[in-house]
């Protein structure tokens, strides 16, 4: 079949070339419209179910809201994990779906399950709200608004009602969360004394307010020729109007709401805040819809915001763009990668011209490289795979094979013509092309298959590792597969068009020099076979032994222009204090040279993705390394600022690392231990012991209990006998407490295009736990007593947050090891915990984090790699048909990796999965070189009738030197700009790959050209094999 394709291409070179140009054009078009993203969609689809439970504390929320909802969600089809947080006033359930399902259907199933929630939740709890499906990165863009002219209520009104709808109208925007400002509400502030004086209760106020604000439609008036709409207006449309609402009648005179209460518009209590720069403002956090293109959506959103910014400025609102913008990393990474690849391409062309000394050969060889890669991009695009760090990485890794495919045919034709000497030009061109192409086709096919098999273990990775590296492997395999097709079709066709009457120039002088050196070395080594074997075994063993000593981490540190700092104050701290400290920190951060912008989100937004209490905040810090300071220096300055604020725990991450960590396990730390058990105090005790053990480990970094400690609570315990004494009902008291300290929402007012909640509150409530006892409570018979007369009010400590995973209570201990060997730390931690922590009955542990994920990935990788090795051996057996050949290839392969090991050691001795992929690619390329060399020996003996011996081995090696050297040099030059810019943004994945491949190319080329020939000359018996 291979032969048929080659012959058909040579028979119709113009058609094949035209088709190739068409494919290249279409592929280029696909590239222009490709979806660019930071990463593939690595996170499993998920939704957050948030239920507001005003006034309830964490334990009440857990028992009354979270547990019942978890019960509803239990056993839902397609749900992988359910994690929850119960905190004061809020239940947040994080539902993670299984991968490879239809996320929209999965979300629908959850919605259906929750449809029965209303009947099982407390009356005052809000409905469970589902977050929209968002992309893995989740963050689209964070931006802010401030105003010196508007009040926080007015500013929030402008952003919520004028800007937010426009943001959500941008295709691809899933959600916009607003932090900061203050929501407007209509407040009915009741004077309890006046209420008591008139013999009225809070219920009377609730009823009157509801009646006054209820909107009932008017209908229409129908005349003979007209239909006139009748619009009825609620009486409470203004505070003045609402204060006229009648509560009751005494002695023929009405008692109005205004007689017992003050009616006004005010700010609702806040559970979150936003700081832009160093002043309060509104921080808007947008997230991307599931599957949307980050770059496109970002640009569309920015265009929309830039359009409305001038109008906002006239209102006194200043727009602060790009406070956190992941698209910047994509732009920067793509432009840097594009520049590196362009430089690489120019170098490759120059090398081709210098070595082949022929523009035709150079053109044919080079043209097949972009054709193969562009066609791969087209197919990826067709299957909805975005162009991201990983897919581009796959294409970069494929360069080595694609280049080899591009060179091998042209070089073979040129060599055959050159070998034929003066008669070369007279040779039948088609016969020459067919012979040259088919000579290498079969071994190239097997070699490509071996490389593809080497990538199978990566494709078979599951979980988040699979999500990351499957697209890389797919891109690689696609590029390699297409390259094979191009080598069998477009390349022979172009050769037929351009090289029919071609006279090859003399071989480049440096290649001749290399061949002389090779001959001399091989002849010398031929006499020392044991030394050669010893060298191969030694280098192979050295590589195998050194690799495990390297540090390992799943993903490298991404060099972004944005950092995220998670700050956590003590649970129970006031929002005002968190904001005050936040402003101080922001001022100091902004003073650091190289810090461009700072924004802070505090607490949570309405139905936001982050379920944080007011003690938690998140700083978005934009750095600008172009101002003469390196990112490391700027980050050190940032960390120094946080050190001056020891009142909070702070962790600084790059945006990508934060997102990946959160996605892996719901925790941002790279190592964590979940303690499961029903008794929270026992869980805390075990977690504390584990934390103590972890702290003693070297390089443990920041060790923390993730579920925060207790917070102060003011417990109001009603005394039944006292209640009876005053004729009070418990609900009367609780209702009063709720109205006083929470505010009771009794209705909604429609005003213009917006709705405002109407809230009843109690006047004279002071912000002190001491004064709660004096809260006046009125019974139905008119008795007014202070709360302290009927209830015991005590300060106690309560849980600020209760976490569940799959319905089980859990406490989490996290660590952010300071060593690059995350896996080693995880191993040490496991051993230490097992030895030093005795678990009480009913308590068990689960380990997680990036290091654990890496261990799991490595385990899978080793297992699948073993299977792949067997497959490769079978493939080689099929290709050669002789065990000696296979043994020779297997003997030399390990030693080819030593260069990669050395290069990795010189650049930090840390193996990210990117570097591991580099080793896999290197392994494939080395196998390919060796297979092609050994196959060429077979060809010389079987097709050209040479007698096997040193001379034949030398000739074969010399003939393979040019393609092997050329491929190695081209691949090296293509990857050199990437490797040189190892520490530049955008090269985090490809850089280590390039470094490993570059180092490995040196060793594999030397092994193929210098060590294999003397051994082959002694051990291989191609002739005997065939005879």
């Amino acid at each position: 079949m291979l032969s048929a394709i080659v012959r058909a291409s040579l028979a119709h070179p113009r058609i094949v070339t035209a088709l190739s140009i068409l494919v290249a054009a279409l592929s280029f078009g696909a590239l222009l419209h490709a979806r660019f993203d930071v990463f593939p969609n690595f996170a499993p689809p998920h939704v957050t179910v948030q239920t507001e439970a005003p006034g309830l504390d964490a334990q009440q929320v857990e028992a009354l809201v979270t547990r019942p909802l978890e019960g509803l969600l239990a056993g839902t089809e397609g749900v992988k994990t359910v994690r929850s947080k119960s905190m004061q006033g809020l239940s947040a359930i994080y539902v993670v779906f299984k991968r490879r399902g239809n996320p929209y259907l999965q979300r629908q199933v959850v919605t259906e399950r929750l449809s029965g929630a209303a009947s099982i939740l407390p009356a005052d709890a809000g409905p469970p709200l589902l977050s929209p499906l968002s992309s893995s990165m989740q963050y689209l863009e964070h931006f802010g608004f401030t105003s010196d002219r508007l009040t926080p209520v007015q500013l929030r009104g402008v952003i919520r009602w004028q800007v937010e709808p426009q943001i959500l109208a941008v295709p691809g925007v899933a959600q916009a969360m607003l932090y900061g400002g203050a929501e407007r509400e209509r407040q009915v502030i009741v004077d309890p004394q006046k209420l008591a004086a008139d013999g009225l209760s809070l219920d009377d106020v609730f009823r009157a307010t509801r009646r006054a604000t209820r909107l009932i439609g008017g209908g229409y008036v129908q005349t003979a020729s007209q239909r006139i709409v009748l619009r009825a207006q609620a009486p409470g449309v203004t505070p003045q109007a609402l204060s006229q609402a009648v509560l009751a009648e005494r002695h023929g005179l009405p008692i109005r709401l205004g007689d017992v209460a003050t009616v006004r518009d005010g700010a609702a209590p806040r559970f979150g805040d936003g700081i832009i720069g160093d002043q309060p403002g509104i921080l808007v956090e947008t997230s991307t819809q599931y599957g949307a293109n980050t770059l496109t959506v970002t640009h569309a959103l920015e265009e929309r915001l830039n359009r409305i910014a001038p109008a906002l400025k006239k209102e006194g609102v200043i727009y602060h763009p790009a406070l956190l913008r992941p698209a910047t990393f994509i732009d920067s990474a793509l432009s840097k990668l594009r520049a590196s690849l362009l430089i690489g391409a120019v170098l490759v062309v120059l090398l081709l011209l210098a070595t082949l000394r022929d523009w035709r050969g150079a053109l044919i060889s080079f043209s097949s490289i972009p054709l193969s890669l562009l066609a791969a991009v087209w197919i990826l695009e067709m299957f909805g795979v975005s162009l991201n760090t990983m897919t581009i990485g796959g294409l970069v890794v494929a360069l080595g094979v694609v280049v080899d495919d591009a060179v091998i045919d042209v070089e073979n034709i040129t060599r055959r013509r050159r070998n034929a000497g003066a008669a070369g030009a007279e040779l039948d061109a088609r016969q020459l092309f067919v012979g040259a192409s088919l000579e290498v086709r079969q071994p190239v096919f097997y070699a490509t298959a071996a490389v593809a098999v080497a990538f199978l273990p990566i494709i078979m990775l599951t979980g988040i590792q699979g999500s990351f590296f499957r697209p890389l492997s797919m891109a690689f395999l696609l590029a390699v597969g297409i390259s094979l097709i191009v080598a069998m079709s477009a390349t022979p066709a172009l050769c037929a068009l351009l090289m029919r009457k071609h006279r090859p120039p003399e071989e480049a002088r440096f290649l001749l020099t290399c061949k002389r050196l090779q001959r001399r070395t091989v002849e010398r080594l031929y006499g020392h076979p044991r030394a050669v074997v010893g060298l191969l075994v030694a280098t192979g063993l050295a590589g195998a032994l050194l690799l495990p000593l390297f540090g390992q981490r799943l993903l490298p540190n991404f060099r972004e222009n944005y950092l995220i700092a998670h700050a956590s104050l003590r649970p129970g701290i006031s929002l005002r204090e968190t904001s005050r400290v936040g402003v101080q920190i922001s001022k100091r951060l902004l003073a650091i040279p190289g810090v461009k912008s700072v924004a802070e989100q505090i607490g949570r937004a309405v139905n936001g993705q982050d379920r944080d209490a007011p003690n938690k905040s998140e700083f978005d810090i934009q750095i600008d390394p172009t101002q003469g300071y390196t990112p490391s220096q700027i980050e050190a300055g940032i960390r120094k600022v946080f050190e001056d604020f020891p009142n909070q725990l702070t962790e600084v991450y790059s945006v990508l690392a934060e997102r990946i960590g959160e996605t892996l396990s719901g925790e941002t730390a790279s190592f964590f231990v979940s303690v499961f058990g029903n008794d929270l105090d026992t869980d805390d005790a075990v977690a504390a012991r584990i934390a103590a053990v972890l702290k003693k480990l070297p390089h443990a970094g920041e060790v923390r209990l993730q579920v925060p400690p207790r917070q102060p609570e003011l417990h109001v315990r009603l005394r039944p006998r006292r209640l009876a004494l005053y004729g009070l009902q418990p609900s009367d008291v609780l209702q009063t407490v709720n109205a006083a300290y929470q505010g009771t929402v009794v209705g909604q007012l429609a005003q213009s295009d917006r709705s405002i909640p109407v809230v009843v509150r109690i006047a004279g409530i002071r912000a002190s736990p001491r004064t709660i006892g004096s809260l006046p409570v009125r019974s139905s018979d008119g008795a007014v007593v202070p709360l302290s007369a009927v209830a015991k009010v005590e300060m106690e400590s309560g849980r600020s947050e209760i976490d569940h995973e799959d319905g089980l209570r859990r406490q989490v201990v996290t660590a952010n090891p300071t060593t690059s060997d995350q896996t080693g730390f995880a191993d040490a931690a496991r051993r230490a915990i097992a030895a030093q922590v005795k678990l009480p009955p009913g308590v068990y542990l689960r380990y997680g984090g990036a290091a654990e994920a890496q261990i799991a990935a490595a385990r899978q990788l080793y297992l699948h790699a073993a299977a792949a090795l067997v497959l490769i051996v079978l493939l080689m057996a099929l290709a050669f048909g002789r065990a000696r050949h296979v043994v020779l290839v297997l003997l030399v392969l390990p030693s080819t990796l030593i260069g990669g090991v050395a290069a990795a050691a010189m650049t930090g001795a840390t193996l990210t999965l990117g570097a591991m992929v580099g080793f896999v690619a290197l392994f494939g390329m080395a196998a390919r070189n060796t297979i092609l060399l050994v196959s060429h020996y077979d060809h010389l003996v079987q097709s050209e009738g040479k007698v096997w011996g040193l001379e034949t081995a030398l000739r074969g090696s010399e003939e393979r030197l040019t393609p092997v050297l050329l491929t190695a040099m081209m691949t090296a030059l293509a990857l050199l700009p990437v490797a040189v810019q190892l520490h530049q943004p955008g090269h985090e994945i490809e850089g280590p790959m390039a470094v490993v491949i570059l180092g490995g190319l040196v060793s594999s080329t030397m092994v193929s050209l210098l060590l294999v020939p003397p051994l082959a000359a002694r051990w291989l018996k191609p002739e005997a094999a065939r005879s």
Partner: protein, 310 residues
């Protein structure tokens, strides 16, 4: 180190230990360098002493003087009736001794006298029960008061203290909040009868009341007792724990490296004064954290970091 510092060290340590116990914290006391104090906005100051009258919030209701007039009139008429009955009885006694009146007539007069006196006692008791301290006034004084009430130059109010059934020391003065204006009133004494609010009540007398303030009006009243001494701290300096309220104070001796250590100091809240509290438990020389107490509170509850952090 000076000998004084040697003496102070154990004292400080003892204070620190007891303070940590008070605050219910197992964590070490927060220590901040001068740079960190500036960064987080810690402000330390001495709490000024203050003498403030003890204040109790109460609900006041303007009483209807016509009821007082009626009650006083009833009392006076019963007294007049008793006097008349006594005179009649005396007259008949003389006549009887001169055998000018029958024994029966005398006995009837004596019975009427006893009945009138019983009515007087009854009226006095009822007046005392209803008007408390006014029952002890002399006729002229009461008449004068009624005159003042009738002309609107004085008002009587009942001040109720919800939830309280007894009163220790009688407040020395009352301030009645009339549309935001605090009008002083004299505290006449406790009223024996419990009103609808089921609480102890006081009778107040307000001279020169604002025009228009009439019977039935309900007003907030602040009762002021004798002065008490304490120190004023801003409300923001106060923190609340299971053992009560406390503030942070800077320990006298600096920790090593010149850092300042802070410790919780329990205080008793006496009275809120605007945005400050009068507290007991502080001494002269105590350096109180008047701004940024939340920072120290947060530090004590965050848990320790691992050694690597340092």
């Amino acid at each position: 180190m000076t000998p004084l510092k040697y003496l102070l060290l154990p004292v400080c340590a003892a204070v620190a230990l007891s303070a940590a116990a008070v605050a219910g914290q197992d964590n070490p006391l927060p220590t901040l360098s001068a740079e960190q104090q500036r960064a987080v906005g810690i402000v330390i100051a001495a709490a000024p002493t203050a003498h403030l009258a003890r204040r109790i919030a109460a609900y006041g209701r303007v009483l209807d003087p016509s009821q007082l007039v009626a009650d006083a009139g009833g009392l006076e008429s019963s007294r007049a009736a008793a006097r008349a009955a006594a005179a009649e009885s005396a007259r008949l006694q003389g006549l009887y001794r001169g055998a000018n009146a029958s024994l029966k007539s005398l006995q009837v007069a004596e019975a009427r006298q006893a009945e009138a006196q019983a009515r007087v006692r009854q009226a006095q008791s009822a007046f005392l029960l209803r008007w408390g301290p006014l029952g002890h006034l002399g006729h002229a004084q009461r008449a004068g008061l009624i005159q003042q009430l009738a002309t609107g130059r004085e008002l009587l109010l009942r001040a109720d203290l919800p939830g309280r059934h007894s009163l220790g020391v009688l407040p020395k003065q009352a301030l009645v909040d009339v549309d935001g204006v605090r009008v002083p009133a004299r505290v006449l004494g406790p009223l024996p009868q419990v009103a609808r609010m089921q609480s102890v009540g006081l009778l107040l007398q307000m001279p020169n009341p604002p025009a228009g303030l009439g019977p039935g009006a309900q007003l907030p009243v602040m009762l002021e007792s004798a002065d008490r001494a304490g120190r004023l701290v801003p409300a923001g300096a106060l923190l609340y724990g299971q053992s009560g309220a406390y503030v942070y104070h800077a320990l006298a001796a600096d920790a090593k490296d010149g850092d300042t250590q802070f410790a919780p100091l329990p205080v008793s809240l006496l009275q809120q004064v605007g945005n400050a509290w009068l507290v007991a438990g502080l001494h002269a020389g105590d350096r109180i954290v008047v701004q940024g107490a939340g920072v120290l509170w947060s530090m004590q509850g965050l848990g320790s970091k691992s050694q690597d952090d340092d």
